[in-house]
């Protein structure tokens, strides 16, 4: 057998030319495709959406799809990007006793088919959002104090008995207990106003897919849904020509699911997309410029919460040592050196009472921390059980958690630290081991009491789950008393500040950062300012160029 192998490794000139031609054809095809895409632009907002969501119902009250509710639905009132409350479907609100509230509907308020928005639509929208099958994640936050809500939420009724509709332009709400800031709770899109006869079936439940174009829905917001391909992750909105507010400036809004952050960044850099629902990468500033993620601080903050019922966090000296051993300036620099967020020293931010609150920042004192650990019931780092974090998912979070672990190693000699991404691991196999939860807390109303009630009151999810059943009577009583004060009563803020100071003495968290509400849009996009509810405050003002 003999094979002549002498010439087989050489590339002939002819073959080289053929290869070059093939490469040229390939590149041209890609180039043509690029031109086709770019020619399609104009006043079209192209949004990359980071999840392949299968449910775009506006009644869900949470999740990423919820962040686009304001473009196609109207709410009773809304907060602008400066935190000022503005009328929308409701033009006025009043209450003599903070228990019975009367709201007037704008006579000009109409749906996209020109029909009037009535009090029955408002009541029906709230009712369907309250039904358990609707799976609204935050109907509680808005409506929990309304009479009849508890029965609906538990699945034993389907009517909000506390909502009366004396005429089609008036809604009267009776609360089970006085709430001076009830009007603020309504100023968002958690339970947007839909045409109740379309969104709600005869059994009171939400009609599946009622909002899809094939069901000919009507909309109350500045844009209307014109196409949706859930399986491909594409959704399109066009202006609602009958919108009762200002005329929208955009010709179209296209939202496309793009789960991969590298792809999304590439698409935005190449100009094929100009906005994103939530793009959080450690190099976002370098990739897309500071304007892309710039934004005002909102009442939300991220911290590392200690489960005080689990060893070794059940020893206050250990907690104190762990907190004092971390240089929090370094912690912030390790995670968001270029912004857009701001280092946090306390829980409250961007609400009345956040400044000059009297909360003294936790000190960084490695020597004192070491001494405290030695004085603790564990006597030092050797006898501490392994410390387990959860919620360590995105790169910036990983950087922060690793910084903390390194500080503990250097300053306290602790080496056994483990980190897991699952946020809900306390419900899973690690539930008996996790001591630290990285998570955000916040409020959707600019109110210190609401902020702390959802963070440190013993009734909050944060206290019950992440802080391990945390309960401090001083905190609870101060917040309970504060909740009875009017929104503009200085005592309301003072009591909230007291509660926060009382919480400090329990050494139960490592403060990390106060959150900026990023635009996540290129600098060419104007008017995309968001409010404290992550919604675009005035979507009719968005324009490009």
């Amino acid at each position: 057998m003999s094979f002549d192998q002498s010439d087989k490794t050489n590339l002939s000139r002819r073959n080289a030319l053929k290869f070059g031609l093939a490469a040229g054809v390939g590149l041209t095809v890609f180039g043509m495709n690029a031109r086709i895409v770019l020619a399609d632009e104009g006043q079209v907002l192209k949004v990359a959406h980071p999840a392949f969501d299968q449910d775009w119902s506006p009644l869900r009250g949470g999740g990423r799809t919820f962040r686009w509710n304001s473009i196609w639905w109207a709410s009773p009132m809304y907060f602008d990007s400066q935190g000022n409350i503005k009328p929308y479907v409701f033009t006025s609100w009043e209450s003599a006793d903070n228990t019975v509230w009367t709201f007037k509907i704008d006579p000009k308020a109409v749906f996209s088919d020109g029909s009037k928005i009535t009090s029955a639509d408002v009541k029906g929208s709230w009712e369907v959002a309250s039904m358990p099958n609707t799976k609204s994640q935050r109907a509680d936050q808005v409506l929990s104090k309304v009479k009849g809500y508890a029965e609906i939420a538990a699945g034993s009724a389907n009517e909000l008995t506390g909502v009366a509709t004396p005429d089609e332009g008036t809604v009267v709400v009776t609360l089970a207990a006085a709430d001076p800031i009830f009007f603020m709770r309504l100023a968002n899109h958690i339970a947007p106003i839909t045409k109740a006869s379309q969104s709600r079936g005869s059994d009171g439940e939400e009609i599946i897919d009622w909002y899809k174009p094939e069901n000919k829905p009507v909309f109350s917001g500045p844009f209307k849904l014109t196409s949706i391909d859930i399986d491909a992750g594409k959704i399109t909105f066009e202006p609602n020509e009958n919108f009762f507010g200002p005329k929208p400036k955009l010709a179209r809004i296209d939202i496309t699911s793009i789960e991969d952050n590298v792809t999304a960044t590439s698409l935005i850099k190449s100009g094929e997309f100009n906005a994103h629902t939530e793009l959080v990468t450690s190099t976002i500033i370098q990739d897309l410029g500071p304007e892309f993620s710039a934004g005002p601080l909102i009442p939300t903050s991220q911290h590392f919460w200690f489960n005080i019922s689990r060893a070794p966090m059940d020893d206050p000296k250990v907690r104190q040592a762990l907190i004092m051993a971390v240089d929090r300036d370094g912690l912030f620099k390790a995670s968001y050196p270029d912004g857009p967020h701001k280092k946090a020293d306390q829980i409250l931010n961007s609400v009345p009472g956040a400044d000059n609150s009297g909360f003294e920042p936790f000190p960084y004192d490695p020597a004192a921390a070491k001494k405290l650990l030695a004085e603790s019931s564990y006597g030092g780092p050797e006898r501490l059980p392994k410390i387990l974090f959860v919620g360590i998912s995105a790169p910036a979070i990983q950087a922060a958690a690793q910084f903390i672990a390194e500080q503990w190693r250097q300053n306290l000699g602790i080496t056994a630290v483990d980190m897991k991404p699952q946020q809900d691991a306390y419900a899973g196999p690690d539930q008996n081991s996790v001591q630290i939860f990285r998570d955000d807390v916040g409020t959707r109303v600019p109110d210190a009491v609401s902020y702390l009630t959802g963070s440190i009151a013993s009734t909050s999810s944060n206290a019950q789950n992440k802080l391990g059943g945390y309960k401090n009577d001083k905190v609870d009583s101060a917040l309970a008393e504060a909740a009875t004060k009017a929104a503009d009563d200085p005592q309301r803020v003072a009591l909230a500040q007291q509660a926060q100071k009382a919480f400090r003495e329990d050494w139960a968290f490592i403060p990390w950062y106060s959150q900026a509400m990023s635009r996540w849009a290129t600098k060419e996009v104007k008017g995309l300012e968001k409010n404290l509810d992550w919604q675009i405050a005035e979507p009719w003002n968005i324009s490009i160029g």
Binding site: K8, Q54, G62, D140, A153, D231, I258, S270, D424, G428
Partner: protein, 318 residues
């Protein structure tokens, strides 16, 4: 053959039941309560009302005992009902039937590309054993083998943007004749091509030493005829077996490719279902995956006699 196929189905059913029981148990007892996840994922002061969550769980039938839920699932399955997604409420069958064609088309294209590229390259490498061309082909195959899809995808995409300013990012699905399929197809084919190149090369080298090849050459049969008629045919049997197995891994393993390039296939759906602990969807995908394994193995078995008549003879002799 029909009896053989029926026997295979009979064996497949209990195997799938065991797999599904395991998957259901993992989803049921593992971390990630689907209803709790809906609430935990929303930022800020999510209203965490245990009574409300319990009411939602009850309405979704999730508070029943494990065996009751699993039994009901299997019962519904026997009646052609795949159930509804726990998070979106959509029919699982509609979700899967929208995603599966994309994955299958992509996998089929990847298999064709793999066969068209890798088998000739493997043969060329073997016929030029230990030459520079052989080393180049083998080296390239090793290089491709070493790059995982989740690295190759973003790298190629970013590279395309850097090298070709103004070029569009190949994102989304427009069918098999759309230019956007090129990059995902390449990424998906890298490792299969590397595998088949090496396997073809090894098989050809083995066949080259067979008597019938030597005889053909001694008779003065042209080299191209020897390669195609005498060498390729016996080599194809193990290679086709491997291609069948690769088809399964491509469909099941296209998760990163589908995520990076925005292809609305089973991989993308799987990730979404896993994130949401949406176990009716996970189970449906598992069922399809195991069905695919069985069908691929069957196809390979059926193809054996066509490629190598000796396989048919041996079966008959049993």
């Amino acid at each position: 053959m029909l009896r053989y196929v029926l026997t295979r189905f009979a064996i497949w059913i209990p195997s799938v039941l065991v797999v599904m029981l395991a998957v259901y148990a993992l989803a049921f007892y593992g971390a990630g309560d689907p209803i709790k996840l809906i609430f935990l994922r929303a930022p800020g002061d999510v209203a965490y009302n245990p009574q409300r969550i319990e009411a939602i769980r009850e309405s979704a039938g999730l508070n029943r005992p494990f065996i009751e839920q699993f039994g009901l699932y299997i019962w519904n399955l026997l009646h052609g009902q795949f159930g509804n997604s726990l998070t979106s409420g959509r029919a699982v069958w509609a979700m899967v039937s929208a995603a599966a064609p994309v994955s299958f088309q992509l996998a089929l294209c990847a298999i064709i590309l793999t066969a068209v590229v890798a088998i000739p390259l493997g043969m060329i490498a073997a016929l030029n054993q230990n030459s520079r061309l052989d080393y180049a082909i083998l080296g390239s195959a090793l290089f491709l083998w070493a790059i995982p899809a989740y690295v190759a995808g973003p790298l190629l995409m970013v590279g395309l943007i850097v090298l070709l300013p103004g070029a569009s990012v190949p994102y989304g699905w427009g069918g098999v004749f759309d230019v956007r399929i090129l990059l995902p197809l390449l990424v998906l084919s890298f490792q299969p091509i590397a595998l088949i190149v090496r396997q073809t090369r090894a098989a050809v080298i083995e066949v080259l030493s067979e008597d019938f090849v030597r005889t053909a050459r001694a008779k003065g049969v042209p080299e191209i005829i020897v390669a195609l008629r005498h060498i390729l045919r016996p080599v194809l049997t193990p290679v086709v077996t491997q291609l069948g197995l690769i088809m399964i891994t491509i469909v099941n393993g296209a998760i990163f490719v589908e995520l990076v390039f925005g292809l609305p296939g089973l991989g993308r759906l799987t990730v979404q279902a896993l994130i949401n602990s949406d176990y009716p969807v996970i189970l449906a995908i598992t069922l399809i995956g195991s069905f695919l394994v069985m069908v691929s193995n069957l196809l390979v078995d059926v193809l054996y006699p066509l490629l190598d008549p000796r396989a048919n003879d041996s079966r008959r002799s049993r």
